[in-house]
């Protein structure tokens, strides 16, 4: 089994990068691989549990919760979180952590593959 690290630098809704990360990550977890995800820059908005969008059955945040529930380790860049006014991630889904680039560097160190989206 492999260890796959994802980097996500774009937010929910505006572009589809979050969707590829989420679906690819879930597929990897189901195949038994280890998945880590570092959310950087606008990527940190994906962790919010407060997204409400009636047009969609599931909002992006639901997918990231599902990633965590299935064993993915998710860390969001704290500097990015606070810069973007997201108050230390107080409205993030439980299990989505706020950390720093050293966490990401550690993910990269243990990863067999690194994907940036």
């Amino acid at each position: 089994m492999s260890n796959i690290n994802f980097l996500l630098t774009e937010g929910p809704f505006q572009t589809e990068k979050w969707s590829t990360v989420a679906k690819l990550g879930l597929a990897a977890l189901k195949k038994g691989h280890a998945v880590t995800l570092f959310c950087y820059l606008d990527g940190v908005y994906n962790g919010l549990s407060t997204q409400e969008f009636a047009d969609w059955e599931k909002v992006p945040g639901d997918y990231f919760k599902e990633l965590v529930d299935n064993g993915a380790e998710i860390v969001c860049c704290g500097i990015c979180v606070n810069a973007r006014g997201q108050q230390s991630g107080k409205f993030f889904y439980e299990g989505i952590k706020v950390g720093g680039i050293p966490d990401w560097a550690a993910f990269v160190g243990t990863a067999d593959r690194v994907i940036t989206l």
């Binding site: 630098t9 820059l41 680039i101 990401w104 560097a105 990269v108 160190g109 990863a111």
Partner: protein
């Protein structure tokens, strides 16, 4: 585990923030427990960052920190320069001009390849 990481800067500075947040990431990659070895290459619209007069203000601190940690190469790719009308004389001394073939070789020689 220490890895060799290639940071490719491909987006135009300064309209998007990747030019400086990418360098923040370089610092973080080098200063973690694994002490990853980083090489930076500027290609595509990223090549504009190598222009002599470009304001390194915001990213200068990272460049300084990076050089304090270890010798790090900054390459800019000749083909991207040519496509954008950037003559070699307009390139800042901090950057070494390489060919697309060299970029392909850098990609082969590094363990991890980021696009920023």
């Amino acid at each position: 585990m220490e890895k060799k990481i290639l940071f490719m800067f491909l987006r135009a500075p300064f309209g998007a923030i990747y030019y400086t947040e990418g360098l923040r990431a370089v610092v973080g990659m080098m200063s973690g427990l694994d002490e990853h070895k980083v090489t930076c290459v500027y290609a595509g619209d990223g090549a504009y960052y190598a222009l002599k007069g470009a304001d390194k203000g915001e990213s200068a601190g990272y460049v300084k920190t990076i050089s304090d940690i270890s010798e790090t190469h900054y390459y800019v790719e000749k083909e991207s320069m040519a496509e954008r009308g950037i003559p070699e004389g307009d390139v800042d001394d901090a950057f070494e001009v390489i060919s697309r073939d060299d970029l392909a070789k850098l990609i082969t020689d590094n363990d991890v390849v980021f696009d920023f």
